[in-house]
Symmetry: C2
Subunit: 316 residues, 2 copies
């Protein structure tokens, strides 16, 4: 028997076919068609699963379960009220996929939560009883794992670390409408906005001034090379992240923090800065929480989704 | 069979004798003797338990378990490395009490966590799957309850809400040595310090100016009566609390917040202000979390301690 792990994003959909031992047999990526309010996404996923099965000489009867990660909140084990990036509104993902595939065991989970589960279970972190994952990118994802389970919360907002307030005095609103949230300082957009603002000051010296287009990687590379302006921006990112981690430690006091996502490729450089800022901010008792880079990269989502189907239960 | 619930504080020790149905049979309060590094406290507790038993015609054989709440962290189910208010350092409370009483089933828990458990179980809140309690007073206590269990965290710091940073720009240190923590703005001392600072400005108008000595109750009463200066202080307390609750919602998203402790006697006045500030700050999904006043008052601690012994397990 086999399992699918599907990770639906605003640009691409990743599909993984796994065997019963959770080994990845085949992986595929298809574009996410956003026209028609994303109505083609799930049928496209079904077609791609079918072709993956056929390539392995299998059919739907070989599929014991399908786990699906979606970029939005998930209610009642499969209903997605809103997934802005996909154009979805009130999509019953479980129902639609059951009808499309005939497979009964369909599990649906928020993508950040699924990725955290995949990272925790398959990244070699299971010896830690509690972990918090934060994923840095265009958006900031978060998830809390306690006793091996992803926490959902009473209103589905557990792990929404991007909306913890880190600057009470902020006058510009976050995308959510409130003020001074982590998202406003550490997303890729926020980092680029900050560096561009600094460069707009003619007195500001930076090697980044000569760049035609700027990426977050450029900013981190410049910081690593000792560029003072870039360093200031990266240090601010580390400080804002550390404020959130210090607050999280006062609430659930996890043993492990996992930093994932595109920005985390800055690697030890960013990680060391976060660790330093965290030690300066956190309560002494929690100072020894480990802060590590995630290991599973972009595959964490398909692994986590697969695990939900394989275990046959909504975690948490 | 019977249980004792003991709540040890820096001023007094409360003792409750309970029957098997968790009914309170007798209650007593004795002073906490702080001389000799608090070495008399546990023997005094033992003597008081013995006299309570004798008054009911019982002896130690009638005692199935003893739960003890202490004002400090608890390691390894009974070891207290430090309880500043009692003068304790490295006291193995479980061991000492076993030797004093001959009772084997001894459970030791941090006082804020025991009080939260007592409040949650006996205050009529058990229908809520998750709750966070914050106790306002000289110190600020906090505790997180998930699936009916008090969370301890990897390093014993779960629920330490008083040390969440609410003012990143603060230059005065918290008692813990770090900066801008909740404790610095909402403890009784902090409230009195803030109002005194306001009153030291000759231009500040307030009915509190005429008071010889000021209590937190005076400040709340003045705010209720419409005194602008007092109102400003109380609103700041509500705002700082709301900042912490909004952050907590982004981490574990509890269904219920319980506000306890002396200050909470300000009742609906403070509660309504906290609710308003919380709605303004919290992520929309969590706005409907309930914020209620604790109901068990000072007895929450002895009930919670008793419950730990009655259940025969360290919760969480």
């Amino acid at each position: 028997m086999n399992y699918f792990g599907i990770d639906i994003g605003g640009t691409a959909v990743k599909l993984g076919l796994f065997d019963e031992a959770c080994e990845l047999l085949a992986k595929r990526q298809i574009p996410a068609r956003l026209d028609n309010d994303g109505a083609f996404i799930l049928p496209d996923v079904k077609a791609s699963m079918k072709s993956l099965l056929e390539a392995k000489g299998m059919d739907w009867s070989a599929v014991k379960g399908i786990g699906i990660a979606v970029p939005g909140p998930v209610l009642d084990e499969g209903f997605v009220p809103l997934a802005v990036n996909l154009g979805w509104r009130n999509v019953d993902v479980r129902d639609v996929m059951r009808n499309l595939t005939g497979v009964d065991n369909i599990r649906v989970e928020n993508d950040a939560k699924a990725a955290a589960l995949g990272e925790y279970r398959m990244g070699g972190w299971e010896s830690y009883r509690s972990a918090v994952m934060i994923t840095l990118g265009t958006a900031i994802g978060g998830a809390v794992i306690l006793d091996g389970k992803v926490l959902h919360g009473a209103f589905g907002a557990a792990g929404e670390l991007s909306h913890i307030q880190v600057e009470p005095g902020e006058t510009e609103p976050c995308a959510c409408g409130k003020f001074g949230h982590l998202q406003q300082y550490v997303s890729t957009d926020a980092i680029l906005k900050d560096i561009r603002k600094k460069l707009s000051d003619p007195a500001c010296e930076s090697i980044l001034r000569g760049y035609e287009s700027l990426s977050v990687k450029d900013v981190f590379d410049a910081a690593k090379a000792g560029d003072g302006t870039a360093l200031e921006t990266v240090r601010s990112v580390a400080r804002m992240l550390a404020r959130v981690l210090a607050a999280v430690s006062c609430v659930i006091d996890p043993e492990l923090y996992l930093i994932g996502g595109g920005i985390s490729k800055a690697g030890d450089f960013l990680l060391e800065m976060i660790r330093t800022e965290f030690k300066a901010l956190a309560l002494a008792t929690s100072e020894n929480a480990r802060i590590e880079a995630a290991r599973m990269g972009n595959d964490a989502g398909i692994y986590g989704a697969m695990l939900l189907a394989e275990r046959g239960c909504a975690e948490g």
